[in-house]
Symmetry: C2
Subunit: 284 residues, 2 copies
Amino acid sequence: MGYEYDEAIAVERISAGRYAADLEAGWKVGGGLNGGYLLAVIGNAIKFDLAEIGHHDPYTVTGYYLSPSVAGPATVSVRRIRQGRGTTTVAATLSQKAEDGTEVERITALATYGDLDRISGDIRTTATPPPLPPIDQCVLTSLAPPEIKAFVPMLDRFDMHVGPESTGLLTGKPSGNTYVQAWFELADGRPIDPIALLTVVDTLPPVTIEMGLPGWAPTLELTAHIRATPAPGPLRIRHESRNYAGGFFEEDCEVWDSAGRLVTQSRQLALAPLPPKPKPEVEE
Amino acid sequence: MGYEYDEAIAVERISAGRYAADLEAGWKVGGGLNGGYLLAVIGNAIKFDLAEIGHHDPYTVTGYYLSPSVAGPATVSVRRIRQGRGTTTVAATLSQKAEDGTEVERITALATYGDLDRISGDIRTTATPPPLPPIDQCVLTSLAPPEIKAFVPMLDRFDMHVGPESTGLLTGKPSGNTYVQAWFELADGRPIDPIALLTVVDTLPPVTIEMGLPGWAPTLELTAHIRATPAPGPLRIRHESRNYAGGFFEEDCEVWDSAGRLVTQSRQLALAPLPPKPKPEVEE
């Protein structure tokens, strides 16, 4: 039997450069579906499209988010812009049919793919992994109270153990920090490959929750640089914001594998959070 | 008389969504034109295109670099993807005619524009400006030796005063740091507006020079988030890399205005540097 994650991101070829997907309600957060999940659906269609030329790994993927996606059928279109020997750059869109039958673009994307196995081993990373205590001293986000999970159903899709200082989502008590860090695995045990990393980078609760600004934060733009295929085992992930201003904030996410390698860096520009509906009733 | 920078980024409408530009040889670096300069040409065409609906400021611009641009005629195409009340998202391409007359895409881009004057004043920036000494204690990069300037003619386009510890480009003696920081103004005194910020983020010498890896580093992808219109006066800029690995490295650039506001954050994914030709002869 397959993994639920693979089913959720599955695409089927309709015609040249066109792929059908069935977006999974389990990845809902607030009024839409998780941006990282959607980016992986797009990423999977691109991978499918470029497999024949051996460029099956994302090096960099950028999504501009146009309108909230809903569970159900979607179409991913992939157009090759430049096909080189080592890399191919594509434009891709994810669209859905509106109730009146018109096609609505949800996300427009650019990506450059190649083959991560073929890039050089010279590693001079100066960044350091997030200082997380062992998993058993962290807190599983799928144990969040029901009123939170009603707003963030996707919490059941992964085993995310947030650090003891990153529990604002669960307790309603913000730490005042501008970062959130956690251990991460998919709930179904599906190994994290470069496509799944496109999801991982957008799963942490918004840093704004720890800043005392409850609610989820819509992504305007997200770019992920996939720098290596992760070694098996739980990932350490952390995102941080340094510039909440003017109704927008950036989130920089780093993903570290079990071998201590920085496998992904992403940055997103998000809108300051909308208050959650229904508002969780938190005991102070 | 106009500013040379405005002439360099000028666009002229050809037809709906199509603009002509004349790329300026003065922005050469190595075998191509500077990626930030090119992004501003694209950004200027988008601004022109969206001015009628009042969305004249870039909030976020992403360029995927496909092939090196050359001085001379170019075409920028702008296609509106989603026009909203507050923002409009577009796809844009910069292309040039090859010698055989075929159109070659140099850069493909996505961008979301709005009106920076209309966004909220709530500022909670936690980042701090780069710790630069006063300009007169820094070193002007346009005083670089002729063999460097032959490779990087764009050094004459701006008055960049690098910090005393960021002079690897000029001296051939890398500091070992993974950052470069500097004061920045355009050489012609042209005020820095949101479009010019798209250039500013890509003007610092690659951090790899300070890491002892000489040569310029081709940009694969660059995303700039323009967060505010800068106050008049010199900018402080800094970029840093934390993950040189696998033949790629990221550069995160911050731009601070004279009022101490973080006006722009960018990140690029670049290819490990190619050795400069001709190789500068540096006395150790």
